[in-house]
Amino acid sequence: MLLRIEPRPEVSRPFTCATPAIAMLLTVASGWLLFLALGLAPGETLYQFLVSPLLTLNGLAELGVKAAPLVLIGVGLAIGFRANVWNIGAEGQLTIGAIAAGWVALAFWGQEGLWILPAMCVAGMLGGLAYAAIPAFLKTRFDVNEILTSLMLTYVANLVLSVLVFGPWKDPDGFNFPQTKLFSESAILPILVEGTRLHLGALVALGVAVAAWLLLSRTVVGFQIEVVGQAPAAARFAGFSGKRTVWLTMLLGGALAGLAGTFEAAGPIGQLIPKLTPGYGFTAIIVAFLGRLHPLGIVVAALVMALSYIGGENAQVTASLPQAATGVFQGMLLFYLLASDFLVRYRVRLLAAERKLVTAS
């Protein structure tokens, strides 16, 4: 018996739109079975995981704190993905961005001034942009696959950060912990809601999503990105340069990841530490696809992903689940999303069954 995968003659539009919801339902159902197998009360654990974070002001604020970097990175990546540029090294660009911003914060440590934060943002974006320029250069000059280079550079970036916080930038009064001095007041993002950690970066992220939406839907540059992604020959016919589009989308994605890194360092963390994020740069890839590569969809998707982070932490405390549960949930979500996307466009048929059908007719 053989399996054959073939394109469906007609792709159902309602189903295409519904796949994120289908994927989420399947993830919850699998979670139910998983908790059952672990000997936990599935209903109660899922409640702790998915619902209880939404019931407190602090929980909602945390949702914003965690969604902000996901939105920033996800939007940047989605723009690239639309142009068929597969930057998956946002985590590294985020790290270099945070280092650049941290350098500004530390260089002007103890000083006051409204210009310090903007300067950090610019430095962070330039850092991420410069780091994304490496795979962009290799891709356009030597046709090196950007998936490999951008991914590998992530590990280099993490090592650079480690060298700095274990070495020259280590806080002399920090009891030998691998971390920098806490940034001074002028280098910390203002808080939006008193008593929570929700910072200005969340608003900026929202603004970036709206701007990206306008860019993609209303400008020639956005049109260029779409055309290059969908039909490279038509792009040449239109006079759009494929290489320039690679540069543009890579640098934009890098800059936004760098900005996300800046916000992490200047927001909830307030210093540089060896592990800046729980993998936002990679989770943002899931966010981008879950949001259908649409900037506003990405905002929703980022909130869902943020919930899985907070729920995972919650469930660690209340149901003593391992931290890996968060990763499992996110992995399942991406898996189900890709699977249902695939099955909407293709169908799997058993060849043996098909033969019978033929003889019957």
Binding site: R218, T219, V220, F223, Q230, A233, A234, G239, V358, S361
Partner: protein, 523 residues
Amino acid sequence: MVQHKGAGAARLELRGITKRFGSLTANDAVSFAVAPGEIHALLGENGAGKSTLVKGIYGLLQPDEGEILWDGQVVHPANPQEARRLGIGMVFQHFSLFEALTVVENIALGMERGTDRKALAGRIAEVSRAYGLPLDPHREVHALSVGERQRVEIVRCLLQSPKLLIMDEPTSVLTPQEADRLFETLRRLAREGCSILYISHKLQEIKALCSRATILRGGRVVGSCDPAVETARSMAQMMIGAELKSLARRKSKPRAEPRLTIDDLNLPADGPFGVALKGVSFEVGAGEIFGIAGVAGNGQNELTQALGGERQIWPGKAVRIDGRSVGHLNAERRRLVGLCGVPEERNGHAAVPDMSLAANALLSARNRTGLARGGIIRRQAAHGFAERVIREFGVKARGAEAAARSLSGGNLQKYVVGREVLQTPDILVVAQPTWGVDAGAAATIHQALFNLAQNGAAIVVISQDLEELLAITDRLAVMNEGRLSRALETTDATIEEIGLLMGGAHGAPVETTAQQGSIQNVA
């Protein structure tokens, strides 16, 4: 029940064949019969249902209703293997050959397992000699010309000793001489009793070759005729079901200063299967239509790209517009100085299939018609421009927001040609302007080109359809292996002369080597 000229049971008879795709009825109760040894033409516009019908006969599709009778017996070919077992062979418009394999290897792939290669090579040589289709079984396919590749496909069918051969637009890739040779082969096959179902839109060919024609329109049989007694015009009118507009042929003006000058254009090949352009030179004056003929794959695509700006050229003086060097400009900037182009491939090149017609208007018309200003898209303007193209060129589409992929090939062609023509370019470079387009639409497109030329534009038409070039151009030249021949005045040019220029290196010499090869194989 259709009966033919005293023949007994028809070789193939269709009774009420109906095939639906969703709400579309591609074939609606189609009935006709093909006698043994008859060359039967299947005529119809694009989308008339010819391909669907023959796919049903060849087992690629299953009809929803109706019967197929084969020598008087009802059959249901469920797949091409079964059809071949019955004795039905088909040569497709697009070949399915592996470039890196030899002729015999390619043919062996379609055979039952365990075929003896040596014996097969012998049979290939034998069949190809017997039917005047010279072919060396041991040459690799990438080294063959298009005409020779078609021979491989035909020989592949003949090895199965078919009783019915279906040919889908077989001459679109051939030089006139190659086409003549193919007709001889087909006539010989018919004399031996093999029936041939011949699909084409080239009416002259059908007149020369076929003894009977069935005409399809909108999936139904609208008539049948004897092509020998009909005129090409009367058959075209049956096909489109309306009076054919006559072209208002403009007067050729004496040429003034050249508007477009191509001066020793050289361009290296792009990849292993590309063709290099070598010293291409020609001039086109205001109001002139200049034709470039040639068998596909001789550098026409490369020339289209070099003229349109998809490939830039240094130094830029190899391409000049009104004396100004533009070779170094990209496609967008060439449009701004007045040069528009239509590439050969519609889907994915001249248009983005998944985007709406309005979005596709932005592709090439955004600057000259103000569909975008200051980098911002003006959606209303784009929508309006698309609507205008649809209206003025009679494009059948649901509207400006319909996806390009939802249009039939001919309608999309009208759209992409119309999109450039309505920008009133000074220079228009158009490749295969009427490829796959029905007679009515072709007339619309030709008329638009005439009007544009009348208003002083210089037009370059790159086409493999010689009849088209002879009908609409003032002068023409032939591309062969990246070189362009001297230009001929169209009124003085003969088909023979052009055919010889087309054949170039892959005419007679190839044949001798092929024959030597086959002799070796027999030995």
